[in-house]
Every structure is written in C-alpha cells, then in structure tokens.
Symmetry: C2
Subunit: 367 residues, 2 copies
C-alpha cells in the first residue's frame, strides 16, 4: 500500500435548491476540514443545468453555485449519468437532493453499478414496495451503500435509531409521533395547551405566509407527506407496507375544496369550514385534551394510520413547540416509557445535516 | 478474492455482569441472524475466570455463561491479552463490559495493535485528558475503531448524535439534561410536577430498595457519575476538560454523612437532613418551578457544571417520568428549540443495545 496514494471518493450531486445549497456549503466545509478521503465533486446538476467534464476533473466547491448558474451544459439523462459515474475509476457517492420520483426510480441502477446513494428524497423509500426491494437488493449485491436519514424528521436521528433498535434485536411494538413541521406548527397554534388559539383558516394562512407550508397548503393538509414518512418507518420496522395509500390517511382538506383551482382560492374559501375544526377542538377540550395530527404504526397488529388524535395536556406530543417533530419508539427493551427524539424536522440546514452525516457514514465504510 | 473465504471477526469480551450477560444474549442472536462477517468469540473473562484456547478456537455462544462459570482458567494479564488477540491473524474487537479503570487504561495498547474497542465503560473517556488523547491517537494511527455510545445515556443515541452534529459542522452551543436514572427517579418522586412528593430520605430509601441506586446510595448522590458523563460530552463538543473533578459538581451528601461507615448507616441518618432538601423544594415552588439534578455544558463560556436547578413545570426536564434521562442539544442550526433525546438511560438490556449497535458500526467498517 503506497502511503502517497491519497484515497479519493467522487461525489455527484443532483439538485441545488434549498437543501442542495445548504449541503454544498456543508460539503465545502467538510472537504476543507478532512484531508482524507479526498472528496472530489465531479458532477452536479439541477433540472435544467449541469457541470461536469468527460475526464472527471474536480469542480471547485467554493464557486460551484455561481458556476452552475452560468453553465450551458444540460443534465445527463440518468442512464448516461450512471455510465459516466461508473467509469471514473474512483469510488462514487450520488447525493440526490431532489424530491424527484424519476431520480428515485434510478437508484437500483446506480447501486448495481457500485455507486452509493445518500438522499433526503422520500420518494424512493415510500413508493412501491418493489422499488424498496430493488434498492436494497441492488445495494446488497454490489456492496454499495444507501442512506436516507433526512427522509424522516430531517437531521433528527430517527432512521438511524430505528435501524439500531431493529439490528440489535429489540422488538419495536409501536412508533408514534408528529412527523410534519407544518402540521406541528398549525396544531400548536390552533389548539395550544394554554390559551385559546386562533381560527383554523387563519392559522393555515399564517403558516403559509411564514413559509411553513408548500406553495399550495393542500399539499401539506392532505396528509400524504406524513403517510410517506410512516411508510418508510413501517418498512424499517418490518412491515411490508405496499404504498403510502395502503393505509388510512385523514385529509384535512374539506371535500368541497379538493378541486378548487389554486392554493390562494383554497385559502379564501377555507374560513367557511372553520366550524368543523372548531368542533373537533371543542370535543377534545371537553375531555381535557388537545387535538394533534399524528402518525402511528402498531407493529403487532400491522396497523398504520395518519390523522387527528386527542392527547392529554401532559403528553409530550401535546407539549410540542413551534414546528418541532417528535417521534416516540415503544419497544420491548424500553418498556412503557418510549425512546423519544424531538426537534426541528424541517429546514435546509438540518435536512442537509442528515445528508452530510449519511455521507460520512458511507465514507467510513467505502474509503 | 475467493468467495469461499467467509469474512471472520474475532470477539474478546471482558466482563459478564448485568450488562455483560445482556450483551452475550444480543451477540448470540446477532451471530445467528447475520452470516457475514462470521463472529467468533475467542476470549471472555470476568475478574476471576476466563475462557480461551491458545489456538483461538471459537467458544460456543449458547453455553458460554455456564462454561465460564465452571472454568478453571484465570484471566490473562492485560498486556498478555493484547498479545494473544494481536496474534490471531483475524480482525478483532474487544468488548469491555466492565467499569474498570485498569481495562480502560489499556485501551491505547489494544488500539495500537489494531484491536477495535467497544464499551459502555465511562472510565476511559472521563479519566485524565491524556488518556483520552492517547486512546484516539492510537486509534487514528492503527485504523482500529473505538465506540462508546453507552457511556452516556445507555443505548440512547447521545454520543452518536453529538458526533454527527460536530462532524457535519454544526456549532453546539449548549448541552443540558438529566443524565442519571437514579437522580431522575429521585427528583420525579420527591418534587413531582403535580402532587406533593415524598420526603427526601424516604425517596432515597425507596430508590435503593427498588435497585435504582448503587449499593451505597452515596455513589449516586455525590454527582460523580453525572460529572463523568458531562466530561465525555464536553470533550466531544471540543472542550478539553481535564477531569470530572475539574468543574463544579454539587454533592447531595450532607457533609456530616460523608464519612459514616456504611450505606445503611447513611440511610439511617439521612432523615435528620430532610429539612435542607425541603427548603430547596419550597424555594422552587415559590417561583412555580420544580427542582431537578442536571448537568450542563455551556460551550461558548466553557462552563461545565452539575447540580440542582429550577425548571418551569412546562419544561421537558420538569416533565420527565420514571427514571428516564433527557438530553437537549442546543446548536446554531437547531436554534432556540433544541434537539432532544429522551428515554431509559440505564438498565442491562438498553445499555447492552448501545454496545451491540457500536459493534455493528465497527463491523461495517472493518469487515
């Protein structure tokens, strides 16, 4: 072994949006702090532009955002990208910072060529169960690694904790929590443990103004984002859940507003339905409880569900603040008091943190 | 590479007490579930007995506890054990399930010979700063790994979370929490958020009867166990804390009872000092708060301290239950709402779980 041969790992990145930019900044810091392995960015693209050279020359990290913005190169089609990365002669990690189903669908191809994948993209792990199986069997066969901590709870140690519980032989009996920063914010304001809280439609409007919702708030209120996260956790806990629509998911979009044209029109018409949510809140208050939007997985009965539930004021789920997530793992070893992880479950920097720490885990194994 | 050559990793274990027995059971399960790498137990000892053969023959895991109990072999002196393990020709992991300072002092020797170490033993990481440096520089040089998740908060993801935060470039500003299951139980009963709570001396007695304290409860009440955990976390956060006695640690042992002979005599005389604790509790109540025994690390001001503090009833530290630990990480990325990890921080099974998951991390890197 020649001491002079510095170990090198190539990095390819798809996506340079909110999370992508935060990741690039963390990657630059990382590369400057750690001399080994040498991290070499050889490919980066958005949906429209790309940066790479056929001889895999390193793209400077300090100027990559502006260089990419002014690039005239188009992204490589995914099968071509697999070939490009697979022929570099160096170990390679693909970082998918998109939420694209197309990129997710190509993971088995990347992995089968020995290219490891780290990503916050939920689509691959919450799509069809076949894709899930294809991903992990491709990784198993080639020895490439696949990590996706930020697909649930952003940088919070949720996936890694669940994997550790399962891999060490604990028996996970139930997982319960608030998995959406948007839903957390909405219910902590609408039905706080002290004080009256605002009108439902007003809280949704405020959340949108603060940037806590998707451009169309219905993309949060339909519960699908939470259902995707539950699908991932249920599968890791051993339940072969077929898809995020294979179990009951309560949508908070009034039927009458499902098909109105725009998010703005939806917000305009939402006040007419405040009464429904007020009743739900009042019913909980009558029992001395508050209402929260939660997901739960009962492993023994194989029941997965997403929707409104009532909680005692002293319950950690009721006491949540801001837009925090909380995830409780009930297991045989932990008994009646669950292992709880809590904190910000959304945001560019903390999501990118999960991606960066996944990258470090991959590097420790392949480099 | 011959496909027929199954990868093999040798395991050596020191300690077969409460945690040690739970670990053996998890190891047996693990070895039967995962065909690769093949885990081969080649050495195990308690302080009095040992099991090994000069040609490193595998010790059957299903009968090891009884075989060890009836063994007539004496443990190898530590330097001899290093030689024994270092000459096996296989990659080796030492699992130290003791709380022995002697074993901890030998980690640099094991690591320098390429033997990885996983352990819940706090002594190595909370002893002198020189030992800390020797351990990590020996590992750095040889490439051997050293993991110690269960040295703080048992199996809770505390060390791994802090490392991830630091390694991905987050700035940890403060760490605060309840780090002792015993102290948690005592204060949750003595000063509950609702109800009156019992007398201090009665709660200490009850905790001892339930097996929640050391044989002499003063070994919990002196705060040293918490100080050791804080030392470890502070060092991981970048503060070169010299030792667990290098910062203020409040002891809950009345001065007059420090030198009474036995734990039982201590318990007999403790009621005479209930008034002091009653006053502390009343002072907190006057402010609408409860008193808790916490540790905190302020990274910016480099202040580490252990002792009683007052908390609002709605604070997660006040709302803790049973003998749970809670650890809050305040960082630049997470802002005003910390990343929180909570759950059982003591007990054989959950402590062994941290050791087993550390072993899995080492295996993923060396095998």
């Amino acid at each position: 072994m020649a001491a002079a041969t510095a170990r090198q790992v190539n990095i390819a990145i798809i996506g340079a949006g909110g999370v992508g930019k935060c990741f690039l900044s963390q990657l630059e810091q990382l590369a400057s702090r750690r001399p080994s392995p040498k991290l070499v960015l050889t490919y980066i693209c958005t949906s429209k532009k790309a940066l790479y050279s056929t001889d895999h020359v390193a793209i400077p990290l300090d100027t990559v955002v502006s260089t990419l913005a002014s690039s005239t190169q188009a992204p490589l089609p995914l099968p071509k990208l697999v070939d490009f990365l697979g022929t570099s002669g160096s170990k390679t990690v693909l970082v998918d910072n998109t939420s694209s189903q197309d990129v997710a669908d190509a993971y088995p191809l990347f992995l089968s060529r020995g290219i490891s994948v780290v990503t916050p993209n939920k689509k691959a792990f919450s799509g069809s169960y076949k894709l899930w199986q294809d991903i992990f069997s491709a990784a198993e066969r080639s020895g490439a690694k696949v990590y996706h901590e930020s697909s649930v709870g952003a940088g919070l140690p949720v996936i890694s904790t669940l994997k550790d519980l399962v891999d060490t032989g604990d028996e996970v009996t139930k997982i319960e929590g608030v998995f959406s920063g948007t839903m957390s914010f909405l219910f902590n304001s609408f039905a706080p443990t002290s004080g009256a809280g605002g009108k439902w439609s007003a809280e949704v409007k405020k959340a949108k103004e603060l940037g806590y919702t998707e451009p169309d708030p219905r993309d949060d209120l339909n519960g699908l984002d939470v259902a995707r996260k539950l699908t991932i956790l249920a599968r890791l806990a051993g339940l072969p859940v077929e898809s995020p629509t294979a179990f009951p998911v309560q949508s908070l979009i009034p039927k009458e507003l499902e098909s109105v044209g725009s998010g703005d029109e939806f917000l305009e018409k939402l006040p007419a339905f405040d009464e429904q949510m007020e009743e739900t809140k009042a019913a909980a208050e009558k029992e001395g409880k508050v209402v929260r939007f939660v997901g739960s997985i009962d492993v023994a009965t194989k029941q997965v569900k997403v929707g409104l539930e009532k909680f005692d004021l002293s319950h950690p789920i009721a006491a949540l603040k801001g837009s925090d997530n909380i995830i409780s793992f009930y297991t045989k070893r932990y008994g009646s008091n669950p292992l709880i992880v809590q904190g910000a479950g959304a945001g560019g920097d903390v999501t990118a943190m999960g991606v960066t720490s996944d990258l470090l885990k991959v590097l420790s194994q392949i480099a």
